[in-house]
Symmetry: C2
Subunit: 457 residues, 2 copies
Amino acid sequence: MNDVTAPPARDLLATTLACTLAQDHVADIVETLNDQDTGTVANVLLDLPFERAVEVLDQPELVEAAEALSLLPDQRAAAFLSAMSADRVADVFQDMREPVRERLIAQVDHETRSALTRLLAYPEHSAGSIMTTEFVSVPNSWTVAQTLDHIRHVERSRETVYAIYVLSPVTKALETAVPLRRLISGDPEAPVASVVAARKPIRVTPDVDREDVARLISKYNLLAVPVVDASERVIGIVTVDDVIDAMIAETTEDVQKLGGMEALDEPYNEISFIRMIRKRAGWLSILLVGEMLTASAMQYFQDELEKAIVLTLFIPLIMSSGGNSGSQATSLIIRALALREISLKDWWRVALRELPTGLTLGAILGAIGIMRIVTWQKLGIFDYGEHWVLIAATVGAALLGIVTFGSLVGSMLPFILKRLGFDPASASAPFVATLVDVTGLVIYFGVAAFILRGTLL
Amino acid sequence: MNDVTAPPARDLLATTLACTLAQDHVADIVETLNDQDTGTVANVLLDLPFERAVEVLDQPELVEAAEALSLLPDQRAAAFLSAMSADRVADVFQDMREPVRERLIAQVDHETRSALTRLLAYPEHSAGSIMTTEFVSVPNSWTVAQTLDHIRHVERSRETVYAIYVLSPVTKALETAVPLRRLISGDPEAPVASVVAARKPIRVTPDVDREDVARLISKYNLLAVPVVDASERVIGIVTVDDVIDAMIAETTEDVQKLGGMEALDEPYNEISFIRMIRKRAGWLSILLVGEMLTASAMQYFQDELEKAIVLTLFIPLIMSSGGNSGSQATSLIIRALALREISLKDWWRVALRELPTGLTLGAILGAIGIMRIVTWQKLGIFDYGEHWVLIAATVGAALLGIVTFGSLVGSMLPFILKRLGFDPASASAPFVATLVDVTGLVIYFGVAAFILRGTLL
């Protein structure tokens, strides 16, 4: 036995914890363990009854599972891993370091190992990568009574028994899915498939994205979706609680991307300083470089700036209004695309809708902008010079143009990203703002040149 | 019978549709009907078999349920409503116009009406408002066999039978929850509660927010959570599919708020122009008024601006970097708060983390900013004047200060909003950017005054 895997000395804390925790709900045990160091977690796992420890390890919420298992004697770790559900074992192995990982993979039982090899081959975030291989299936020749009897036997080792998959006895292809609730009220002697209307069940292939699986489960109010291979054989199921976890992870990703950064992929509390900087500095630098175009644009308009320094006062205000209207439109469209309320081909309908919306919003903001200048001038708070009426008109017209432009760009950007094969959620508020800023300046100075030519300019 | 409720003339389209749809999955029927006008939907409901029509109406995804029911003869509509699940009826009535609503409420059966009165009294987005009153409960004196027999009888009229609530026969208080999977493998003659470990089940009161219900269901991997009153009597259950719908709605709200607008509360495709403008114009106007402080700040620095017009070139770039770093920090913290990774009391730990993060990010951006000025000057692309080294230093130092400040403000704003009782998700990217912009200008001109005093200023 290797040194690395020597069990840590059992400590009193771990034993006491194990005693107290044995009665708790498994989710609460996990919460307590997540606050402990890895050594304590490993000791608690040794002190808990075996079945209970497996239950705890089966929770995806247990953060240090891989590290804790690495600290246990190989034999014990392998026993735990063989008893855990295959999809969870796959996750744990992905977090585990070599050489422990390789050594443990060699020691888990045959069934777990072959399930593992398949699961690890599926792309990240696919149905295959989140599915469990522990489900109930029976041949269509069985009766209701036979099936119920089978469920009673395997109940404890299956993630869900609420959907039973009925297979062709010859090809093993999926024929139908029978909910347990129908089964228990069916005639015991009738064939198992007779309790439901004959209909191909909703099913997915292993490469389907977890977001699409979530959509199906939510649309059809399912408790699980079977995952089938090319010959329609069931190779696993995705259950509703896997989907909820996936939905929460997707939402976190989307919100972080919308904030203008890469998705962290780990809790804010736990990510290291270096990784946090990496996830945030990239987009910030890209946006800064993009925003440098504003400096170039302003260098281009330097003559106008020198003649009419008063114009600079409104640059931040006008640019941010464009960014804000763009960020609104982007978040609306990202969400509508995610919910499939609209699809790629609807881009022109959205554009036709955002155009009048942007014009109206721009008119409202333009009016507020004009009111501000008029009020400050009339009340004597600030003197915008003899051409203050023209300046007010310039600011009003620029706001109208920029807000309209911002709404259009903000609403079209997610479509363009999706069309180019990127995640539309990458169209973050800062990204849109940066895109709109440069054009916003050009619009502002264009409007100013038109209105103020011959007076200020 | 009233004119308003006269059924629309049956059209061929509706009859054909009903025929085709009768075999489809109910979620697919709903999808097809959502593309039809209300008259056709009403006719299809009349043409479908009664049970099937009820199933269709029971789907929360059917947008025009209230309008279609209003078009049907009162008697038929009341029959549908009485057969539908009470929580869905409550939703439908909330969308229905008077006087049809009042007339139909009077005609639904007694059971539905009393459930309805209770459901409509709960606050929006609470467990009470999304719960269903159709669940299975049995007294603790029953045996496993008795309970299974009962389930067989009521199965078709209950939203879920996978959790059976065991009550005290005297007080009717909830004692435990028994999953059906355990029940079917239990000894038929044993008391129903004997198949699980005695433990108070996870439960909520009706005023608990739907987000917290979702968190419990996700944490404990439940299929349903019972809702209990003050005496621990079960008054309803929230099922996992209600929770998924609620999670999707919450995510939509959060994304839209993060984009800097009020949550739409209806699909992008279906909201009217006026309502869309209302939801978007409010925040845009508030942000514009806030952003006017930048004009005031720049008026204050007018002397400096006139002396060193070259400083204006970098205003957009510097301000947007502050906004971007703030928006990153805000979206991170909003999400970490929503996931309960951090709580209100962790604000100082977050601040201590964001300070070095902001300084590092600011140093990176500051370096990029300096490089840009040096490169442009050296390559002769633009001449920043004789003091270009000092200008580069000013821009670099300002970026460092503003990005640090942005990260701090962006991370603290959600805490402040939460502390004041607002939704932390209201701390939108545009809101943070506006907050940071004004201070950003002050920092920029402060740094400039310090570095350029005696040369340019």
